[in-house]
């Protein structure tokens, strides 16, 4: 039901013109209004918290749709930020929200100052779910200015923010915003790979060379099979991360996000190669997905940081403890 509504909205309102504008750094107010009217920012909240009480599978599908439509606005971040705010007992966002962790901020005399690196659509946000140490802050838009411009690999604004804010909303941190961000990105990666596989099947099924569709070549079929394998891994990885986040298990999130990032890399490469030169252009929609995959795989903690977290835990478990650790993920 919700999935159908979201699909209809995105098919209607998220056209090429909207994508082009977003790549120019223009906010899409009409689209955001529609997203809010549908209630998407509250989608991850329980019914008690004023949300939809979606099942795990429905929530995952909603997040994957943000990926399979290459949603340029920070909808996933806002969903995750509101989930954190609700869990912490802080007020929900009244517009788009960001998610960040910055442990090197300065806290003195009730004022928080310092720089938060690379926040999607930082100028346009209503508030920021910001973790510092074991505290979660709800920083309103008046609490920061743009310190430095930045752009994501899919060409959306990603400025660094100079925070200077008299703290008036803080709570104990329920879980790390980076774990939330990495988890929603894993679902978005799975969604984007779903779209990339669909496009690649279409293209190789209709593009005729040497008198037959590309897809009739065994070597092409095998690449499609590999792409389907990466998609399966990304989808399972996102589910794994999502289940782990729900029990606040950061190692499970690490495992899920790492494998999803790997699938983003491998999947984007296969999809582009199978499209030939047209896949390298902005004339074909594939680039919306490949550039998004190249952006998302490095956001909310880098691959190296997540791998070190999981790897050091595995090494600490030791040889005999390794398998029990894996089965607990």
């Amino acid at each position: 039901m919700l999935a159908e509504m979201i699909t209809r909205l995105f098919e209607r309102s998220l056209d090429n013109a909207a994508q082009t504008a977003a790549r120019e750094g223009q906010w899409l107010p009409a689209l955001w209004t529609e997203v809010e009217e549908m209630g998407l920012p509250l989608a991850l909240l329980t019914e008690d918290q004023g949300g939809f009480g979606l099942s795990f599978a429905e929530a995952g599908e909603t997040l994957r749709l943000l990926g399979s439509h290459a949603m340029p606005l920070p909808v996933a971040e806002t969903m995750a930020a509101n989930q954190l705010f609700a869990a912490a007992g802080l007020a929900l966002a009244e517009g788009p929200a960001g998610l960040a962790r910055a442990d090197d901020l300065t806290l003195s005399n009730g004022r928080l100052t310092g720089t938060v690196a690379r926040v999607a659509w930082g100028e346009q946000l209503d508030c920021l779910a910001l973790a510092v140490g074991d505290k979660l802050y709800r920083v309103p838009r008046s609490g920061w200015t743009v310190a430095e411009a930045g752009t994501s690999a899919n060409f959306h604004p990603r400025p660094s923010l100079a925070i200077d804010w008299a703290i008036d909303a803080e709570a104990a941190l329920p879980w790390c915003p980076l774990a939330s961000g990495a988890t929603v990105r894993a679902f978005q990666i799975a969604g984007a790979l779903e779209a990339a596989l669909e496009m690649t099947l279409n293209h190789t099924g209709t593009r005729v060379q040497f008198g037959k569709p590309l897809q009739k070549n065994q070597v092409v079929q095998h690449e499609l099979a590999k792409l389907a394998g990466e998609l399966a891994c990304a989808t399972a990885a996102a589910d794994l991360a999502g289940e782990a986040l729900a029990r606040h298990d950061v190692l499970g999130v690490a495992a899920g996000t790492l494998r999803a990032r790997e699938a983003a890399t491998a999947g984007a490469a296969i999809a582009t190669q199978m499209h030939g030169a047209i896949g390298f252009t902005r004339e074909h929609r594939l680039h919306l997905y490949t550039t998004a995959l190249w952006a998302w795989r490095d956001e909310f903690g880098g691959q190296v940081s997540w791998a070190k977290l999981l790897g050091s835990a595995a090494l600490a478990a030791g040889g005999p403890g390794y398998w029990p650790m894996v089965t607990a993920l």
Binding site: L201, Q221, A237, G256, R259, S312, A314
Partner: protein, 384 residues
């Protein structure tokens, strides 16, 4: 959508959690003297004593009806036993084929007499099976099978050659895929399956095929007018193709498709102890992520099988991605640790590495080559 769906695996019930704990304790006891080098043999370790202990403790034929010696537990519970065996490097070879595919095939297609004769003895760990599919001219192209069985009164007379039969020199039976009418040009028509007694079949000779590691797992089975009682026909004459495809589905779905080299990972972690660099942490982290996700996919397949859904496509994906993973481990280890693989080393790491290096090429060959699996997946995507 064209994605091949993997439903979320069922959550571990209290019964599953208890079973895992109980079985880990059983394995600790059973395997306390097994060396890392022996554990690295994984599913091709062969020990009838271990298989009998498994049977006596109720860990074989887990999903079969009690009337045939089974335990009427879920496919998911069986999957727990299987993955724990593999992760621990238990010598499962003497019951592996029988418990995984021969027994389920007999349960599905066998006569009442066959079920009573074979299943309780498989479930008790007494009876060991091999696979009788591949031939010298019929590997991936199974429908080109030539081995012929001609009905002659109360017996079949079998002539032909089967190859790559793991443990035919040790096992008691194979399920033979053969042609009961027509010629190889008829492809899958006219094929059947026969239960062959490896110890008591006049006209059957078994010769070793030594693999590149110098190990004797494979055999050639040569049938020269071999005499097989007609009541050893499994299922229906002429239905061999459908039956063998069903058997292959059991073969492709399990966690052995990504855990074959797990002992190398265990030993790598032991070697890295106390000198874990950034590179070691990063690499081990990424390997662990891949393993955890493969395990989830495999559990999803187990859940599908429990619901009696067709999981052939999903199983092909798990095996394809899983073989890449288990085959990548030796090189991943080589990027972290300088060590020469030494098949005869007394030291643990060098001998485990050698065993894995030598055996890993077979993991994308057996049970359907990588190329065959990718063809199956591509067909599932609608490409042909």
């Amino acid at each position: 959508m064209s994605a091949i769906p993997f439903p979320a695996p069922p959550a571990d019930t209290d019964a599953v959690i208890a079973l895992r704990a109980e079985f880990r304790a059983f394995l600790d006891q059973q395997l306390k003297d097994r060396t890392p080098r022996q554990r690295s043999d994984n599913w091709y370790g062969y020990d009838r004593g271990f298989s009998r202990a498994m049977g006596q403790a109720g860990y074989l034929g887990m999903t079969w009806p009690k009337q045939y010696g089974g335990h009427e537990r879920s496919a998911f519970e069986r999957a727990v036993i299987v993955e724990e065996c593999l992760a621990a490097g238990a010598p499962v070879g003497a019951h592996w084929i029988a418990d995984r595919q021969s027994g389920p095939s007999i349960l599905k297609f066998g006569t009442e007499a066959q079920k009573q004769a074979f299943l309780p003895r498989i479930a008790s760990g007494e009876l060991s099976f091999g696979i009788g599919m591949s031939e010298p001219d019929s590997g991936s192209d199974l429908a080109a099978t030539r081995t012929k069985a001609v009905k002659d009164g109360a017996v079949y007379r079998v002539t032909g050659t089967k190859v790559w039969t793991s443990f035919a020199h040790e096992a008691d039976y194979v399920i033979l895929f053969c042609r009961t009418s027509g010629t190889p040009a008829d492809r899958h028509l006219g094929t059947s399956q026969l239960l062959i007694d490896l110890k008591n079949t006049p006209g059957l000779t078994i010769k070793p095929i030594i693999d590149l590691a110098g190990q004797h797992h494979f055999n050639e089975m040569h049938f020269e007018d071999a005499v097989v009682p007609a009541d050893m026909l499994l299922g229906e004459e002429g239905q061999g193709w459908d039956q063998v495809m069903s058997e292959l589905a059991f073969e492709r779905s399990g966690p052995e498709r990504f855990l074959s080299s797990i002992e190398l990972m265990v030993q790598l972690i032991e070697v890295l102890k106390g000198r874990d660099s950034d590179a070691a942490q990063i690499t081990v982290g990424r390997v662990t992520a891949r393993l955890a996700v493969l395990r989830r996919l495999s559990r999803s397949v187990a859940g599908m099988l429990q619901e009696h859904q067709n999981a052939n496509l999903q199983a092909a994906i798990v095996k394809d991605v899983g073989a890449l993973f288990e085959q990548a481990l030796p090189d991943i280890a080589r990027e972290l640790i300088d060590a020469e693989p030494d098949p005869r080393a007394a030291g643990t790491y060098a001998s485990v590495l050698a065993n894995i290096v030598h055996n890993s090429p077979s993991w994308s060959l057996r049970g359907g080559t990588r190329e065959i699996l990718r063809g199956i997946i591509a067909r599932g995507l609608g490409t042909r």
